[in-house]
C-alpha cells in the first residue's frame, strides 16, 4: 500500500479512537467540571460497560444485532445505577471533598475491578458486531461498523452539547458548576444534580465501551488505558470544557492512530504524555479551560 492510502487508513483508525475517547473523556470532564471530583474509577465504569455488553449480548445468541442493541440500551443504564449507588454511599458522605474523593474513587476502582474478576473472570471475550458491512474504497476495504462508531459518537456529543446549552437541565448543571452555594440559594438541589452528573459521566463511559467492545474484546483490566487517555484529553482540552474535550480527543486519537501505524503505539503514548506535561507547565488550565481568577 502506498503512503497516501496508508495515511488515510491510519487517520480513520485514529478517528475511531477519537470517537470513543471523546465520549469517555467527556464523562470524566463533566464530573470534574460540575462536581470538582477527580473520578479515578472512571475507567472501571468503562470496563463495566464492556463486560455488561458481553453478558447482555450473550443472552441472545444467534442475534448479534438484537444482542448489541440490548447491550447499548441496558449496559449504560446499569452502569448509571451503579454510579448513583456509589455517589450516594461514598461521595455524598465525603461531602465531595476533592482530596477525599480521589482516595475514595481509587478504592471504587479496585472494588469494581475485583468484582468483575470474580464474576466475569480473567478471560477477554468478544462481542459480535451488530453488522458486518464493509465500505470498499479504491485502495482498501474499511469496516462499516467502525464508521458507525464515529457517527454515533458525533450524535451523542451533539446531544450532550444540546442538553448542556439549550435545556433547563443544562442550565441547572452549569449553575451548579459555576457556584454551588448560589445555586442552592436559587432552589437548585445540588446533591441531586451531583448524583445525576456522576451517573451521566459513568453512562457516557459505558456507551463508549459498548461501541468499542465488538472490535476490542471485554476484559476486566481494560479500564486502565481509557482512564489514562481520558485524563490526557481533559488536561489538554481543559477540565470541564466540552469543546476542549472534543478537540483534544481528536488530536490525541488521530495522532495515536497515525504514530501507531507509521512508528509504534509506545511512541504514540510517549508523545501524548509529553504533551500533557507541556500543557501542565505552560498552560495549566488546558487549551480551552478557564484560568482560575
Amino acid at each position: 500500500m502506498s503512503f497516501g492510502p496508508h495515511l488515510l487508513l491510519a487517520v480513520l483508525e485514529g478517528l475511531v479512537t477519537s470517537a470513543v475517547l471523546a465520549l469517555t473523556a467527556l464523562g470524566l470532564s463533566l464530573v470534574f467540571g460540575v462536581m470538582r471530583v477527580v473520578n479515578v474509577a472512571h475507567g472501571e465504569f468503562f470496563m463495566l460497560g464492556a463486560v455488561l455488553a458481553w453478558a447482555i449480548s450473550s443472552m441472545v445468541p444467534g442475534y448479534p444485532s438484537l444482542g448489541f442493541l440490548m447491550a447499548l440500551l441496558l449496559s449504560p443504564l446499569i452502569v448509571g445505577a451503579v454510579a448513583l449507588l456509589a455517589e450516594r454511599l461514598v461521595l455524598r458522605r465525603l461531602d465531595y471533598n476533592p482530596e477525599a474523593t480521589i482516595v475514595a474513587t481509587i478504592g471504587m476502582l479496585y472494588v469494581i475491578q475485583q468484582l468483575a474478576l470474580t464474576f466475569y473472570g480473567p478471560e477477554a471475550r468478544a462481542v459480535p458486531p451488530p453488522f458486518n458491512f464493509r465500505l470498499q474504497l479504491p485502495w482498501f476495504g474499511y469496516s462499516g461498523y467502525k464508521l458507525s462508531i464515529i457517527a454515533a459518537s458525533i450524535v451523542l456529543m451533539l446531544a450532550t452539547w444540546f442538553v448542556l446549552t439549550r435545556t433547563r437541565i443544562g442550565l441547572v448543571m452549569r449553575a451548579t458548576q459555576y457556584d454551588r452555594e448560589t445555586a442552592q440559594a436559587f432552589g437548585i438541589p445540588v446533591d441531586r444534580v451531583y448524583a445525576g452528573v456522576f451517573a451521566l459521566g459513568a453512562m457516557l463511559a459505558a456507551v463508549a465501551a459498548v461501541l468499542i467492545v465488538p472490535i476490542q474484546q471485554a476484559h476486566y483490566l481494560m479500564g486502565l488505558d481509557p482512564l489514562l487517555l481520558s485524563f490526557i484529553v481533559v488536561i489538554i482540552g481543559g477540565l470541564g470544557s466540552l469543546r476542549g474535550t472534543v478537540i483534544a480527543a481528536l488530536i490525541i486519537g488521530v495522532s495515536d492512530g497515525v504514530i501507531s501505524v507509521f512508528f509504534s503505539p509506545t511512541l504514540a503514548k510517549i508523545i501524548a504524555t509529553s504533551a500533557v506535561a507541556m500543557v501542565l507547565v505552560f498552560r495549566p488550565q488546558g487549551l480551552f479551560g478557564t484560568a482560575p481568577r
Binding site: R168, L171, D179, F186
Partner: protein, 235 residues
C-alpha cells in the same frame, strides 16, 4: 407589627469556630431592618444561616409559622426567602437571560413573570443576550436583585448591595428597596454605608461578636453618633 422572620438563640460555626452566639432578632412585615457591625461581627453569617448555607447548630429561624432550619438549603428560596449575596455572585459565564431564568425556576405559582421583573430594571432588557460577567458593576447589582426578585419573595436578604457602586446607582438601589417595602416585602439588609442605612432602613440592629446587642429606630441614629461609633467604629 407582626414578625415575618424570627431568629431565636441562633448558634452557627465555621468548622470549630463559633461565629453566632445565640443571636436573636425579629423582622417585621414590610420593614427594612439593617444589620450593622464591624467586619467579622457575624452579619453575613446571619444571612447565610437564614438561607441554610451555614447550618444552625442551635436555635430556630421561623418564617411565619415555618421552621427554616428543618429545610434543606434549596428549599428555603421556595419557602419565600430570596438572597442577594455580597459581591453579587452572578453566574458570570451565563447570559443575563439565563441568570434571570435561574431565578424564575424556583418561584412559586402566581409569582412574578420575567417581564414584570425586567420592568423594575429596564436596562437589563437591552442586555439579555450579554454575558453577565461583562456588565458594569451597577448593572450587575441590578441583575443580582432582579434574579432574587424573580422568586417573588416575602423576605429579601441583601448583603452590601451598594458596595463599589457609583452614587447614582446607590440611589437607584435605595429606590428599589423603598418600592419593595411599599409592596409588603420585608428586607434584612447588611450595609456598611451609614448614609444608605439612614435613608432606607426602618430599624437598625447592631451585631457584635455574633450577638445582636441593640435594635433601635434608624431615625434615632442621627442624634446618637456615639452608638454607631461604639459598634461600627465610625460615625
Amino acid at each position: 407589627m407582626s414578625a415575618v422572620l424570627t431568629l431565636s438563640g441562633l448558634d452557627c460555626f465555621y468548622g470549630e469556630v463559633q461565629v453566632l452566639h445565640g443571636l436573636s432578632l425579629e423582622l417585621n412585615k414590610g420593614e427594612v431592618l439593617c444589620l450593622l457591625g464591624r467586619n467579622g461581627a457575624g452579619k453575613t453569617t446571619t444571612l447565610k444561616a437564614v438561607m441554610g448555607l451555614v447550618p444552625a447548630k442551635a436555635g430556630s429561624i421561623r418564617l411565619g409559622d415555618r421552621e427554616l432550619t428543618a429545610l434543606a438549603p434549596h428549599e428555603v428560596p421556595k419557602a419565600g426567602v430570596a438572597y442577594v449575596p455580597q459581591g453579587r455572585r452572578l453566574f458570570a459565564e451565563m447570559t443575563v437571560a439565563e441568570n434571570i431564568e435561574i431565578g424564575l425556576m424556583a418561584r412559586g405559582k402566581g409569582k412574578p413573570t420575567r417581564d414584570r421583573v425586567l420592568d423594575l430594571f429596564p436596562v437589563l432588557r437591552q442586555r439579555l443576550g450579554q454575558r453577565s460577567g461583562t456588565l458594569s458593576g451597577g448593572e450587575q447589582q441590578m441583575l443580582a436583585m432582579a434574579r432574587a426578585l424573580c422568586l417573588g419573595p416575602e423576605v429579601l436578604l441583601l448583603d452590601e448591595p451598594t458596595e463599589g457602586l457609583m452614587p447614582s446607582m446607590i440611589g437607584r438601589i435605595r429606590e428599589t428597596i423603598s418600592s419593595l417595602r411599599g409592596e409588603g416585602v420585608s428586607t434584612l439588609l447588611v450595609e456598611q454605608r451609614l448614609e444608605a442605612v439612614l435613608s432606607v432602613a426602618d430599624r437598625v440592629c447592631f451585631i457584635e461578636n455574633g450577638r445582636a446587642r441593640e435594635t433601635v429606630p434608624a431615625s434615632s441614629l442621627r442624634d446618637n453618633p456615639a452608638l454607631v461609633r461604639r459598634y461600627v467604629g465610625v460615625g
